[in-house]
């Protein structure tokens, strides 16, 4: 049975998963890049960026685990891109063609990716095995489609904050890896609203990394 997992979700010490003012210039909001500061020194990040070297400590191990055994990804539209409103309006405003994600022509997924949106759109077949599907009927439908595409492997909720919270609210998220980064954001989107303990989550593992504190939450 496919499990639904969240990985490498960076959280500020004041509880925000993205800074305020997300947009094309700052996809993660103000200060959001700092949240991911623990990722950039790792060997896995270097590998993914085609660079040698990098650290091979605990941060690296947690980062890597996020790609293991994943057969499909679900993400919110804010994570897919800065486009708000109908896709056509964005396309009409520029001359670069339709928005096809932050990741260039060869996204690092290599599997089916289901993007939640209120605006229908045909799938985008990318290089390297990634296809972006656009799902207009909600998180449960996206998870169901992802389950079909994952072929027995696990499903990852990619983000952002709103989508993770929404998926948790469905009761269908089995585990989450949260990396608490030494950053004060001041505002943004909160991850922990509601009572996660009452919702059945418990702390399944924790470890001090080099640049973040890692915790894994699991439904009991």
């Amino acid at each position: 049975m496919s499990r639904v997992r969240v990985h490498n979700f960076s959280l500020s010490i004041d509880g925000y998963g993205a800074g305020p003012g997300q947009g094309l210039a700052e996809p993660l909001g103000a200060g959001g890049e700092e949240l991911h500061g623990w990722i950039f020194p790792t060997a896995y990040w270097h590998e993914r960026s085609g660079e040698p070297g990098g650290s091979t400590g605990r941060d690296d191990a947690w980062l890597r685990a996020g790609d293991e055994g994943i057969g499909a990804t679900v993400m919110g539209r804010n994570m897919f891109g800065p486009v708000r409103g109908p896709w056509e309006a964005w396309d009409a405003a520029g001359d670069a063609g339709p928005w096809r994600g932050w990741w260039g022509e060869r996204p690092p997924f290599g599997h089916e990716v289901f993007v939640l949106t209120h605006h229908a759109r045909d799938p985008e077949v990318m290089e390297g095995g990634t296809t972006f599907h656009f799902v207009t009927d909600g998180i449960r439908a996206a998870l169901e489609a992802a389950r079909g595409a994952a072929n027995g492997a696990d499903i990852r909720i990619g983000g952002g904050v709103h989508t993770v919270r929404e998926a948790v609210a469905t009761g269908l998220v089995d585990e989450l890896h949260v990396a608490i980064a030494p950053v004060l954001l001041g505002g943004g989107e909160r991850l922990f609203t509601g009572n996660w303990a009452e919702d059945g989550y418990r702390l399944a593992a924790s470890e001090q990394g080099e640049g973040a504190m890692h915790v894994r939450l699991a439904r009991s």
Copy 2:
């Protein structure tokens, strides 16, 4: 000039400084003891408890720093004890005399302690140099009294969550050491309400301890 400092403020990963349901049986609320799990293994805690041994790593160093250079302490009544409402009603209900704090006849402060309360009461002179004063006219008055008593040394805000937030809101807190513990509380009192970055705080230091992630916030 005395600085106003907060130290060893343990925070859960979901942002709570104390669990729900604080009371005599659970002074820190449900799960609150776990929040302080990083403290108990340290050498400093062992020393304070009259026991040999203990760890001498980063957690120990951060814990110790909380007592250095402190000349007076301000705390909320929930930190002083489980008593709610008038002191007399509590005293009438039991036969153990007035509530004189959680710490026995020789509290570990060794200086003047100012307890915020809505109910006036005479000072309690304890052994070892601690006197509890009861302040009914608010956090600013308590800080001013503490400044007088500290004799040039620093003032510590002892807690709990509400008192720390209130002190921060006055703009008079110079620095805070927050220890983020790998604990999911689910509910309780949140530390980070409002926008601390806009209020002038920045991350001044951070370090991964053995059992918690330590951060120091300072007003810039």
